[in-house]
């Protein structure tokens, strides 16, 4: 007989690396708790790995921690983790499955959507559940627009941007029920973990700087970078950059701020010619004072900056550097 129980549970795919839970896991647990209150269901934390059961103690915000351990899950690989998660989710379909929109989570969220046939909304900043209807708000077009979308079907997957929800709400102490679930056979995996590579030490550790002046695409050419570097020097800080500058090979990877670079929390962060894509914001939103200079008044960077200048950086930056030097 068909099970007619409505799907009310919320599930959070827990992200962890080298025995440490990622902040976004707590952010998602907090949001999952809020959604579970509305639906009246349980909050499940899905914890995969090898020798990770101990981490369940830190997941007190969940009602149940589903622990799945296997040799093939000892390190994150997109394929084995997706296969194990697909089996877990199929056996107890939640109303909403929250996955981090990170390097690890991207493969899982879209992979699960493809495998399970459940709809996916990516780059999610917020989600609401009312009268059984799930609405997801996703940040698209480089953070320039928000799309509010009604999700179809009884189960949906949301991949959540880091920093969208407070982590504190998901950091409850408590002793959640632990349910150990064996994974499906994982002997035919086509992706094998080789090793983790730690970031190489650069000439400057941008995570330890009190002042960072960061340069983005608006600088137009490598030859213009010294303009911004001079400002960084005048302020006694260091030069950092957004992803396109590093991808162009204009500055080394060790200077990159953002999702695939470094997370920085300086006392002062000056964003020069950086539009502020979600991936960049993720790495610098914790700075104490953010000043942004950009020609586009609609640049998303102005949504996180404290002070903004809508102007050509080539007009303002050299003047500012000169004034600081002679002050």
């Amino acid at each position: 007989m068909q099970d007619l129980t409505p799907l009310n549970d919320m599930a959070v795919v827990i992200e962890h690396l080298e025995g440490k839970l990622a902040d976004i896991s707590f952010e998602m647990l907090g949001k999952g708790r809020e959604l579970a209150k509305v639906s009246g269901g349980r909050l499940l934390a899905l914890l995969l790995g090898r020798g990770v059961k101990g981490l369940a103690a830190e997941l007190g915000a969940a009602d149940t921690v589903v622990v799945t351990e296997h040799e093939a899950l000892a390190h994150y690989t997109p394929e084995a983790h997706k296969q194990a998660l697909a089996a877990i989710l199929k056996a107890r379909p939640p109303r909403v499955t929250l996955v981090a929109n990170t390097a690890m989570g991207m493969d899982l969220a879209a992979g699960l959507s493809g495998s399970l046939g459940w709809p996916l909304c990516a780059y999610v900043k917020d989600a609401r559940l009312a009268d059984g209807r799930l609405t997801a708000v996703s940040q698209i077009y480089g953070g320039k627009l928000l799309a509010h979308a009604d999700m179809e079907g009884p189960s949906a997957i949301l991949s959540v941007l880091a920093g969208s929800f407070p982590a504190d709400a998901g950091k409850a102490t408590g002793t959640p029920q632990v349910e150990e679930v064996a994974p499906p056979p994982l002997d035919k995996v086509r992706i094998r973990f080789k090793r983790l590579i730690q970031p190489e030490a650069g000439d400057v550790d941008i995570t330890r700087q009190a002042v960072l002046v960061s340069v983005g695409r608006g600088i137009q050419s490598k030859d213009n970078i010294p303009l911004v570097e001079e400002l960084a020097e005048a302020l006694g800080g260091a030069l950092s950059a957004s992803r396109p500058i590093v991808d162009q090979g204009w500055l080394p990877k060790t200077r990159q701020v953002g999702k695939s670079g470094m997370s920085v929390k300086p006392k002062l962060y000056v964003a020069v010619g950086i539009s502020g894509a979600p991936e960049h914001i993720e790495g610098m939103r914790g700075a104490e004072l953010i000043v942004a200079i950009n020609t586009d008044p609609n640049a998303p960077i102005f949504n996180v900056a404290h002070y903004g200048v809508v102007s050509d950086l080539f007009d303002v930056i050299p003047l500012l550097t000169e004034k600081i030097k002679s002050s």
Binding site: T102, M106, G114, W118, L120, I197, P199, I290, G308, D312
Partner: protein, 258 residues
């Protein structure tokens, strides 16, 4: 090695994006499209792999509008084949639908390695590469910044970028789909003269898309600019005045060295 690079057109984010009167979608009447910048990295990595290991590079694109010049540019950069998949895609297409269309098209295109851009500005229902891999039952790795095929071409070692500058090295059996974050070199530039020449001497292949049922699995009810209560205080004035205000701000917060 046969490398396939599906590319897609996305709105140029440098331009102002207008929402249509209904408030559900972009107003496409004046929309300027350009190739997804991550796809340019995927193509660059493919061309570099071809230079070292031989083989072919085939570029595929759904005809979402303004796609011809992009495909000719890919040929001018060194791709061997450019295939336009024709169909009713002018109003945009969901990632799920694009993946199904590409999966069918790949039935007729040999592929050992499929490189896509890691993401696109408009892939609200997920990244096409991952959905394509799932449709083809191939392994996929996203956020890749280094690809090195093993001798014999049965596998490749790839680097997946995590946050904090940490990377994982993974070995992937081929064929596989990789979402490229950054090629090992900056994407090459094709001069306009070369593109024009290619337009005269080479042809785009065209294949019609099959009918596709797949949708995004969700319906956008509102598309709007973010409303932020704590938006930046914008400093107005001439560059001189703005620089003075910033100087005063930095002095007040103790950032000026004595």
């Amino acid at each position: 090695m046969n490398i396939v690079v599906p590319v897609k057109m996305v709105p140029d984010l440098v331009e102002e994006l207008e929402v249509d009167a209904a408030g559900h979608a972009l107003d496409r009447s004046f929309l300027k499209l350009r190739i997804n910048e991550f796809d340019e990295h995927a193509l660059e990595e493919a061309l570099l792999l071809k230079a070292t290991h031989g083989g072919t590079v085939t570029v595929l694109a759904l005809d979402t509008g303004e796609v011809d010049e992009t495909l000719f540019t890919c040929l001018a950069k060194g791709a061997d084949r450019a295939v336009k998949i024709t169909g009713d895609f002018q109003e945009g297409v969901s990632s799920h639908a694009a993946a199904v269309v590409l999966a069918r098209a790949l039935g007729a295109v040999p592929h050992d390695l499929i490189l896509t851009g890691v993401q696109a500005a408009d892939d609200r229902d997920g990244q096409v590469g991952i959905l394509l891999a799932t449709a083809l039952d191939l392994p996929h790795v996203s956020v890749v910044s280094g690809v090195e095929p093993a001798p014999g071409g049965k596998a490749a070692t790839v680097r997946q970028e995590y946050s904090g500058g940490i990377m994982a090295e993974l070995e992937v059996d081929l064929p596989a789909v990789l979402g490229i974050q950054a090629a090992r070199a900056a994407p090459r530039y094709a001069p306009v003269s070369k593109v024009r020449q290619v337009m005269k001497t080479q042809k785009l292949e065209e294949i019609p898309a099959p009918p596709v049922e797949a949708g995004a699995g969700s319906t956008v009810s509102r598309l709007a600019k973010p409303e932020t209560a704590d938006r930046a205080e914008i400093l107005e004035g001439s560059p001189e005045e703005v620089a003075d205000r910033l100087l005063a701000l930095f002095a007040e917060r103790g950032f000026l060295k004595r």
